[in-house]
């Protein structure tokens, strides 16, 4: 199969399309083989728009999934409210701070009403907000859109479309599809805090929130950077912070 191709203007070049497809296919196969070779070293796919969701989900599950007190807010909430102190004061028997860095009010409301509250029965919910949560800005729209579009959100809320099922099939069959979240931003999972544990290891040791928190040090560097000034000098310090939000 030979034809000519125009690429803008009057240019004409003879291109053999069978060869083009063959080379393109070879590159795709090469990529698939390469990612499969790395398969066991890549972290698990979370489906959430940010890694903090995944860390929170694992920590919440490790706490039994249903704290007596639940804190909802952005990174200000992470800094301002320590559930362990509230528990010490006798406000609640257990508590968890489910803060989401940079989340606007509409994201917090959506996440709380559709993800958190339907599956937990906290006696007390603390909604920690500042004026910034109410800003109308493009990046905040993006935060909401990212949450809505994430496969994990659609899974939890039961809003999966036929495209999600197609995507599941593709992920099951192709390592490139399966790990695209990580391949898109590889710096988020390999960095200065040392070699990361394999997914199996992290799950096997996820018996307490502390151990879960240690499992993804460098991804939290990304969370830390995005959360702002508090952790910018020491990415690993976030580990301690995340640990302090659990009790």
């Amino acid at each position: 199969m030979t034809t000519t191709m125009t690429t803008g203007g009057p240019t004409r070049t003879r291109v053999r399309w069978r060869r083009v497809l063959l080379i393109a296919l070879a590159i795709a196969v090469l990529a698939e083989v390469g990612v499969r070779a790395l398969d066991s070293r890549l972290p698990p796919v979370t489906g959430w728009p940010g890694y903090e969701y995944a860390v929170h989900e694992e920590q919440l599950a490790a706490l039994g999934g249903d704290p007596d007190l639940l804190v909802i807010g952005d990174s200000s909430a992470a800094v301002a409210i320590r559930p362990d102190e509230l528990v010490e004061d006798g406000v609640a028997s257990s508590g968890y701070n489910y803060w989401l860095g940079g989340a606007p009010m509409r994201s917090l409301e959506l996440h709380a009403s559709e993800v958190l509250l339907p599956r937990t029965t906290p006696r007390t919910v603390v909604v920690a907000v500042t004026m910034r949560n109410f800003n109308e800005a493009p990046s905040q729209e993006g935060h909401l859109a990212a949450l809505r579009a994430s496969s994990a959100f659609r899974r939890v809320t039961g809003r999966r479309s036929w495209l999600d099922h197609v995507d599941d099939r593709l992920q099951a069959g192709s390592a490139v599809f399966r790990h695209r979240e990580i391949l898109r931003d590889p710096l988020d999972w390999s960095g200065p805090c040392g070699p990361r544990a394999s997914p199996t290891d992290s799950r096997a040791t996820a018996t307490s929130p502390t151990e879960v928190a240690i499992a993804w040090p460098t991804k939290r560097q990304g969370i830390a950077e995005r959360s702002g000034r508090r952790w910018r000098t020491s990415p690993c310090r976030l580990e301690r912070s995340v640990r302090s939000t659990t009790c």
Binding site: T3, T4, M5, T6, T7, G8, G9, P10, T11, R12, T13, V15, R16, W17, R19, V20, L21, L22, I23, A24, L25, A26, I27, A28, A31, P49, G102, N135, A137, P138, S139, Q140, G142, A145, A146, L147, R148, A149, S150, S151, L163, D167, S174, V176, F177, R180, E181, L183, R184, D185, L187, D188, G222, E225, R226, G228, R229, R232
Partner: protein
């Protein structure tokens, strides 16, 4: 339904297959229905506005051509243009001007509480309004005959590949293509259209959307970012907006080609420009030519001496800035471009290299122009005027903070891809196809890499096209 969604790909394939089974007249009716359906998916509430605007544009065009009395012709034109601009004023600028008036009264001591206007901006209004104005003005100037076919006129306004974010077409570019039977694209045409679609997707999904994640993070709270992060963020935004808008245009052109239409390009390697004059001949070309034909020239253009030309350039660019959005940041963005164009005109040193392959000695000028364009981008992207000033202040004073290093690899990837593509295209355009041959092996590698890159960058949250908001 954005151009970078699976739904659009499936929908486009279905529309193309059905359209070519229909006669020319039915094709137009079908495409008009599809275009209205496409718009309804975005926001069905403003379908009536699109419809009414089209009906008024159609009838006023015929009335304008029929009128022989000059005063009556002028009256029809002014009322038509006023109606279009009035729509824009209400939907796009009302809140901005009410707030501005309230602030102004506050300055002179009159404390007023402005009524809060929460009007949603109808998508695409800025684009089809400009096209309808150019239609009315061109009939008034007797450059074109009015379109007598209501379906053809409706399709001129609403044709779905260009409806939401341009290119902003001249009536004589599209209406004849609608009125005459179109050629079904042959294999070469289909391949060229698919090439545009693929390259458009790469620019949008691989480049722009990947950069957008970092841009959003960096611009969200600039007070926590270092000068390095803010510089990287600004450069990322320069890449994002180019990839985003150029990608959109290529997808629009590819989709239109599959239906037998040819849409004009909107970009010609703008970041290779060695002056603002060259930049505006290669960036958003259909908007800049609209501003030139329907604003700059009627204002007097360069016919009134240097001072008058500078004033005209400033007016045009300020209004061009305001066209992008009702806000001080856009006004300042336009003002910077206007001032630079005026200065270049005043100095007489504007080097227009838009028809040259860049050579080494031009690099300092190109970098200087790009740097100044990036300064203007800060105002364009920042979430407020205060934020823009803070970003520039932190960069200028080398403030410390979070470094956002994760953006750097994507910035490098975007720079290499966009720069290489621009240099190759510029060279092929000017020196002919033999300057850089398209071989099967090269195309195969590009298609393979593009496909893998699209898979890797797909599946995240869909980032809307930047220019959809205008």
């Amino acid at each position: 339904m954005t151009f970078n969604s699976v739904q659009f790909a499936i929908g486009l394939a279905a529309v193309v297959l059905i359209a070519w089974r229909l006669t020319h007249r039915r094709q137009n009716v079908f495409l008009l229905v599809v275009s209205y359906g496409f718009y309804a998916v975005w926001d069905w509430r403003f379908l009536a506005l699109l419809f009414i605007s089209s009906v008024i544009g159609y009838t006023s065009g015929i009335a304008l051509a029929a009128a022989t009395d000059e005063r009556r012709r002028r009256g029809i034109l002014i009322s038509r243009v006023a109606l279009n601009l009035g729509m824009l004023a209400v939907f796009k600028y009302a809140a901005f001007f009410v707030d501005g008036l309230s602030d102004l009264l506050g300055v002179v001591g009159l404390d007023t509480t402005a009524p809060t206007l929460s009007i949603i901006l109808p998508i695409a209004i800025s684009y089809y309004t400009f096209e309808e104005i150019s239609y009315a003005v061109d009939i008034y100037r007797r450059k074109i005959e009015p379109c007598r076919d209501v379906v053809a006129y409706g399709l001129f306004v609403a044709f779905f590949p260009k409806l939401v974010a341009g290119p902003i077409l001249r009536p004589k570019e599209l209406i004849p293509q609608i009125e005459r039977p179109r050629q079904r694209p042959d294999r070469e045409g289909v391949v060229a259209a698919l090439g545009l679609l693929l390259w458009g997707l790469v620019q949008k999904v691989v480049i722009a959307d990947s950069l957008a994640v970092h841009v959003n993070d960096i611009f969200r709270d600039p007070s926590t970012m270092s000068w390095f992060a803010l510089t990287v963020g600004t450069l990322c935004f320069a890449g994002q907006i180019y990839g985003d808008f150029s990608g959109y245009t290529d997808i629009a052109r590819g989709a239109a080609r599959l239906l037998g239409f040819e849409l004009p390009p909107n970009f010609r390697q703008p970041y290779l420009s060695s002056s603002f004059t060259a930049f505006w001949r290669t960036w958003h070309m259909t908007l800049s030519r609209w501003l030139r034909d329907y604003l700059y020239v009627p204002l007097g253009g360069n016919r009134g001496g240097v001072r008058r030309t500078m004033v005209n350039l400033m007016i045009v660019m300020l209004l061009g800035g305001l066209w992008h959005g009702a806000g001080w940041t856009f006004l300042i963005w336009g003002g910077i471009h206007g001032a630079m164009l005026a200065l270049e005109r005043l100095s007489g040193r504007a080097v227009d290299n838009s028809d040259e392959v860049p050579v080494a000695r031009q690099v300092p000028r190109i970098l200087l122009t790009f740097g100044l364009v990036c300064v203007a981008w800060v105002f364009f992207r920042a979430e407020s005027l205060d934020a823009a000033l803070e970003i520039l202040g932190r960069i200028a004073t080398l403030q410390g903070g979070s470094n956002a290093l994760s953006a750097v690899p994507w910035l490098l990837v975007a720079t290499v891809v966009l720069l290489t593509a621009d240099l190759v295209r510029r060279r092929r355009e000017l020196e002919g196809p033999r300057s850089i041959a398209v071989t099967s092996d090269r195309v195969g590698v590009l298609v393979g890499v593009a496909a893998v890159a699209l898979v890797v960058t797909s599946g995240g949250s869909p980032v809307p096209f930047v220019y959809f908001q205008f």
